[in-house]
Amino acid sequence: MADLGAISLWIALALAAYSTVGSVAGKLRLSPALVESAQSAMYAAGLALLVATFSLVTAFINRDFEIAYVAAHSDLAMPNNLTWVAFYAGNEGSLLYISTVLAIISAIAIWRAPEKLKDALPYTTAVLMLTLTFFLAVMTVMANPFDKLPFVPLDGEGINPLLTHLGMFFHPPALMAGLIGITVPFAFATGALLAGKTGDEWVDAGRVWAILSWALLAGGLLLGSWWAYTILGWGGFWFWDPVEIAAFMPWLVLTAFIHSIMVQKRRGMFRMWNIILINVALGLALYGMFMNRGGSVPSVHSFGASALGWVFLLFLAIGVAVPFAIFIWRYPLLKSARELDSMLSREAAFLVNNLLLLAIAFVSLWGTVYPLLSRLFADEEITVARPFYDQVNGPLMLGLIFLMGIGPLVPWRKASLSSLRKSLLPPAVVGLATVGILFSLGLHKDYALIAFGLSAVVTAGILLEWYRGTRSRHRGTGENYAIAFLHLIWANRPRYGGYIVHLSIVMLALGIVGTSFFSTKLDIVLSPGDSVAVGDYDVVFLGSVETLMSNRTEFTSTLEVYQGGKFLETLETTRAFYPSFNMASTRAAIRSTPVEDLFIVPSENLADGSVGFRILVNPLIWWMWVAGPVMLVGTVVALWPQKIRAPAPAPSRPRFAPGSRPSAA
């Protein structure tokens, strides 16, 4: 299968390169046949990459250790269900994964592209295929997953134990797909610019693909946090690790983009701004890939010392310089259709929201490049740690939550002060009441009080709007409240899908604030039979059992948990040592409720049977993990295709919907 995989990669490279050149040449030479042929080559490249993927998966299942990549990332003891993880566990496989994803989404994006973009599609195809050509060239020349060993080893080195976690089935592929997915909206924007279509033609396609990338990145980041929380053994979920930030930054810029693109769609405004945003998002995505593959920042996530760093740095430089050159070239044509009517409008709120998101992204970027710059200019590496990010980004994030609360309550174009007062007063009262109640209950931390108050404002604003809309439908149609509510959401999917996502952000904020300000931590060594009090809990350590496995030694510790003298449950937590990796992996025992988590993880198993434990009580963190599915639901609702109804259809005719108009006689 190694040969078929290698052949497929070369075929895919040839097709992608041909598609790049053919698309541009066909467009410039006005040869529709060449353009069509180049587009077909793009589809064929996707097929070739699927064959390559199939070949590598088959090699893993057959444990074909003749292939260096299979020998390095699997062994005979590895269960087959981990093949999916092993596939992208290393540099070469992850490049193949990224290339395959890019080829597939490129094919779907071009196939489903709106008709109005027809003139720009050759350029869009060229941008997508140029990116694919880069990845395929790097893979075939420098990091081929089908390279063979000169001998066939009896067993492989095995999979990294930290990757054998459920979160790893989705976290890395979601992040990689999200990062490379940004290429699609970027390609639509750049293709439209190159074709001289400087209006709003690319907006619909750009919005849909940007939201998909955004959702993949959000899901990937959340699953990564969950993975870190349950397996890394330090009890936290976010460390401001440079590679975490690498995925976080494009997500922030995409968040800004999917808000401001709505302004362009609705009002024809922010045309230049949206091009800049999608260019910045792509630049940050390429920066993230550079950091992952040979960037000089050490991280738990990176693929180690890889020689690809310089190649990706060059690609990053091109990926930043060329799009901005195109932007500057087309700048005179990028005029917005309208000016901002008022600073008291939804558009203005979106603009401020964009600026805050960009500020957080650039603070984070500064934190990742500062160690490099300090080493370069001061001969001394000064790393930037969590306090920097917390102190600078914390207030900016509070500002964002504030805007999330008031933005949706402000109408488009302009708001009168009286209507604004009417809309904002009830949520503001709820927010202040929340702060008052929490303060009187003894919560006196400023940041936490503000965050909880603002979260209450956002939630109240959304619930109040749903209540009013539902009541209006109920009164007008006689529908019961549940049906009226569902119809309300269904009739305004992009808007209310966004609101559901806002609710999930509030849930995230609750989890982050709860654990950041109110967590209790205890590091302690317990012998069998010992007990310890943490928060409201009493934890009794019953003992630890050692089990020898084929590739690891596993220590399973059993603990009983009591609260107020009442038995709650028995928890088990494991710590495994993998000699071939000289690495320990832990699985935390977690008793999770919406109020708080009791988190127990063993840090060391001593010879006398005692165990060093880290025990934490993390308030409200449960809401973080619930936020993921809620965010997913919101995204699906927002993206669900919507038929737009005409304002004045003839009663005798079916309703007008785009595309349903009778054709010319």
Partner: protein
């Protein structure tokens, strides 16, 4: 050369030939008549209409939720109707689509404009959208407004 290598090379060759055929097909088949570009334009117009109608839906929702004064609502509602009517008229002038249907839509829009000048907003019995009094059918769901007032 073992059997697996031979099979791999065989399937690799099949893939290469197939790819070559897919890429070359565009050159050997006869060109389709250039009707695609003329079919593309109406879809673009449809999207323009869809965006306007979407904006009307949102405007309407914000009015229902009490975020817009009635006067602002009427002004903006009328402006969107004019935009939609302009798109429809452009279609008619360019001779695309079914002229009778386009004209009918335009008349309905124009009637809506006239009525909105002094009409009051009422609620649609079917979808509960705000509709200007006197409009024969709900602009959003198409339901007849009947005796609603």
């Amino acid at each position: 050369m073992d059997a697996e290598t031979v099979i791999s090379i065989f399937f690799g060759a099949v893939l290469a030939v197939f790819s070559f055929a897919v890429v070359g097909y565009a050159f050997v088949r006869g060109r389709q008549p250039e009707s695609e570009s003329s079919a593309g334009a109406p879809k673009t117009e449809d999207q323009a209409l869809a965006d306007i109608f979407d904006a009307i839906n949102t405007l309407d929702l914000e009015f229902q939720l009490g975020r817009l004064a009635e006067e602002d609502f009427k002004t903006q509602f009328q402006a969107y109707r004019v935009q939609a009517a302009t798109v429809l008229r452009d279609q008619l002038e360019e001779g695309r689509g079914d002229p009778a249907w386009v004209l009918e839509q335009e008349i309905l829009l124009a009637r809506g404009d006239q009525e909105s000048a002094d009409g009051q907003a009422v609620t649609c019995p079917d979808c509960s959208a705000a509709v200007l009094e006197g409009t024969p059918a709900c602009p959003h769901c198409g339901a007849e407004m009947g005796s609603q007032s």
